[in-house]
Symmetry: D2
Subunit: 320 residues, 4 copies
């Protein structure tokens, strides 16, 4: 195993070492699936198999790896917040986007209403429900679900992403907390669009059916300055990508973002559907799927696997 050493940067391991590390990470992740619990607040999510686990990797040279349930489709859930943020930055720019949401970690559960009502009128950041809903409300008039779906397919290099109707209806039926957040934002004069149209679009975006492989592609685009390295297409501005990664680092894993930053040190975004998308340096995109969740709503297997990968492949962004 040879390692290329770069001055002022951590060594990049060989391709064999990378494959070996992913295989180990897969085994480690699979083993801990039994310690988590599938989300049940949306009935449709409760149907997932808690023992499922898959990892996919895609790097800048087009090499890919896949282990386990890397092609199983699941609902993207909160990972779609990264796509919503990227879309908002693309169509409205930095300044307008951040006139609608702040960029501070909230230190609160993903669906906290407390913070919204006591501290500030603007949602704390775009990666919590209130922030994502607020950004969706600014798009709901001019853009359709299809527009955002198209953008998601490009970023994920996956033309088969579609709406999971069953999840969408389940989401719609049990999304009362998100409705409460939406009406609270409306009552404060922060959200200006139509509340029902807004939550409907938000529920659809959360219900997009992706795979670990789709998330690996998304992660790669983000880790590669917004460029799809295969097609060469420029999908997100470099400057915006930096912003997205910063926010993923500080706010990407709910109430466990700080710990993930310390233990893994890679910008990531999790969803209660079991997805975890990471944008590692290299560039390297990593997508993980494990619906058994920890107490914070993150995939137990996904987090454990990433801890291993970070250690073995020197992925920690503060290992400079």
């Amino acid at each position: 195993m040879t390692e290329k050493t770069i001055p002022g940067s951590a060594p990049l391991p060989s391709r064999e070492a990378v494959e070996q590390a992913f295989r180990e990470a897969y085994e480690i992740g699979r083993a801990v699936t039994i310690t988590g619990k599938v989300a049940d607040y949306i009935p449709e999510l409760a149907k997932a198999n808690p023992r499922d686990f898959g990892i996919a990797m895609l790097d800048g040279e087009g090499h890919s790896l896949a282990f386990g349930d890397a092609d199983t489709r699941f609902s993207i859930q909160s990972v779609c917040k990264v796509i919503i943020l990227a879309f908002s930055l693309k169509v409205k720019g930095f300044r307008e986007t951040f006139s609608h949401v702040m960029m501070e970690p909230s230190g609160d559960a993903f669906n906290s209403i407390l913070k919204l009502d006591t501290r500030s009128n603007l949602p704390f950041n775009p990666l919590i429900n209130a922030g994502a809903i607020q950004l969706v409300s600014t798009m709901a008039e001019r853009f359709s679900f299809e527009d955002l779906l198209g953008f998601a397919r490009e970023l994920c290099m996956d033309p088969e992403i579609c709406l999971n109707e069953a999840v969408y209806h389940s989401e719609f039926d049990s999304g009362d907390r998100n409705r409460a957040i939406t009406y609270l934002l409306k009552s404060k004069g922060v959200l200006r669009g139509d509340p029902e149209k807004t939550v409907d679009l938000y529920f659809k975006l959360c219900s997009m059916a992706v795979t670990a492989r789709s998330l690996a592609s998304l992660g790669l685009v983000i880790s590669n300055d917004g460029v799809n390295p295969i097609s060469g297409e420029h999908l997100i501005d470099r400057e915006y990508v930096r912003t997205i990664k910063s926010l993923m680092f500080t706010c990407g894993l709910y109430d466990s973002s700080g710990r993930f930053g310390v233990m893994v040190g890679v910008p990531g975004k999790s969803g209660v559907g079991g997805g975890l998308m990471c944008a590692a340096r290299g560039p390297m995109g990593i997508g993980l799927y494990g619906p058994a969740l920890d107490e914070f709503g993150n995939s137990v297997a996904g987090v454990k696997a990433m801890e291993h990968l970070s250690r073995r492949l020197n992925l920690h962004v503060f290992d400079y």
Copy 2:
């Protein structure tokens, strides 16, 4: 101006470009000092000259730069929390340290009591008052102020750091909110040491008199894997340094940590004395001193200067 390009990493600028960027940053920072306000909740701090501003830089090859008030002594205030954390990691290790504090960004003001009382018994992270006080309480029995002062001198490569008695007494007299935090932690059974001894040591640590140059050295040690590049001395374990930088990134600038992460992208820690310490890659330590503060308690000049440096020198950690 030649730039060395590293695959998978941002280009490192020439020494001339670095010097030019620092000169510009100094001018930009100096110009905005008029928009801030010196801290006045501790009488002694109110005596600082709001127009003061200084920057110091130190890199891994021993080159240094200094502009403006880089040798003015001021009280370290919250920047000492990084030293407290490093000391705790050194003497107690990772596991025990994080049995006393969590590692989550709080999304609350530096002296929030709300969070402490509603969400959790453990302080959110070691870089807010409650967290630092909690760590100090675990040391107050076994270690004296002199022990920590010695460690601070080593990290800052500055044997002249001493206690500013006037600030210490001012701190002691007006530190009622910190006493409230300490007694609240005590009443919850979290803080086990003696409250008065704990706040006394904490006030002393906040009152250490440093310069922008001292903070540049501290930043360099942190950006250089915990090693003093001049003496070769290993002061903090590499693994702990990673943890420190992660926490600085997510929690280092009070309620503006998220914005600093997006706009600057360098691990930093600010203090209400006007200090700002940054650990940039290179390795490069940057110390700034500008006592005129913004609404969040961060040096206005320091933050503005860092925004410029990050852009001009590609220091943003997510520019990979």
Copy 3:
């Protein structure tokens, strides 16, 4: 002026003294209307004349008094919460009613979401929005607006109470905070009925058009053990009336309930439409209408007039 003295109780003043006290109270109230501000969060409420003020009194022997705008119709707003509570007690009884709401003063603004989300799943009491909405949700399936309107007409001895359509539509259009509260209750599994049906019925109940005279009748029924002293009809059980009065005393005037209890000492319920209904001993019902509100949402004239009446007529319940 002769006064009947009752051992162990405050003396009851003569009829002339009563009339004189009401005349003074009217003048005092009228004079302070200029210090208040008409509610504007619902556009239709903003149309009220801030200088309007009226008082009506009705006692157990059928004597009545009226000063100023005692026959002006205005929307009942939060005073309807007393009717909702009385209706719930009547059709569901004490035990079931208080399985849906608690009976504690909240010490929070009438539309607080904070308390709902941090302390308890059940609304604090039936006289804040969350509590009233929760009770309405338990009725919305079995009872129509007309059923409750009929009950309101009986209690207020006012067959002309009707829905103010303009207020109802205004309410409906700007009721996002109440929708947020409703969906939050729904998401917590506390509210079991249909959210939209619930808020619709709640908005209608708040939009009933009453007069100061209607509120005096309501107050009299409550102060007379639930019996209409003119018809002899038993409208609310004696035991329930006691509960209603207790809750009016502890929670009837929003964040100023404690002060009203100290300064006036009579069970009262205010509404942002400018109404104030009091159930004084005697029995005596007092209805006041003054749309200029204080910072807490209570009629400035109404509160001042009641302070005078309480002092002059020994109405304070703790003057035993």
Copy 4:
């Protein structure tokens, strides 16, 4: 059993009926002591016998009743807040007293810090720790513990009230939450006296050793317009007594004040030492002692006994 009927007031039962009701209340209270738990946050309190229960009654004609442990001494704890409030009203008057505390029920636990830090700088009312501590701070310079002890002895007609040194020391050692409250008030500029002197005096006041009989006397003075009916001495102004009763009604039983108001309807004040003092109409003072507490910190036996007495003797203040 003959009952005297008073127009506009509930009938007063005969002396035999009163004695019988108290005997029943004693039996009922004694039976439920097993459902409560003795306070243990102060070690000295944990030593009380959970099965102890006593009731004492004293009326305006000097008749008294006593059952069970009516002469057992216990620490007055929060019941002293009524004495502190009465003393403040006496020496500073209404206006100055309520420039230091508000008069709103807090809807929060007796030692809530949350409310103090988010809503207002002034404590919510004088019957929660923050409010009582604030009032004590305004007295600590001019008055000694002996001054307040003397006043307590007069109100309780009990010259043997003294400081329970063991409780005081226990209190002092474990009073960190009260210290946190005190320093928080100090840091907000609300509390102006010396924090340590303030908590010391407060702890002493909480440690006064009283009996159920002492509390019955205190209740009688309050229910008799502030006059000791035996000596004829005027101890508290009539107007202040009304204020005290109102605040006892809205805030006297911690987070269960609203329920006590509904179910019992008599101004009361409880303490975690197991004491409960009630000022019923008649006039009639009732003192209860039962150290087994419910989840809110109120004597289980005391509350149950009062529910029975209120029903049997028509004591509910809203039964007019």
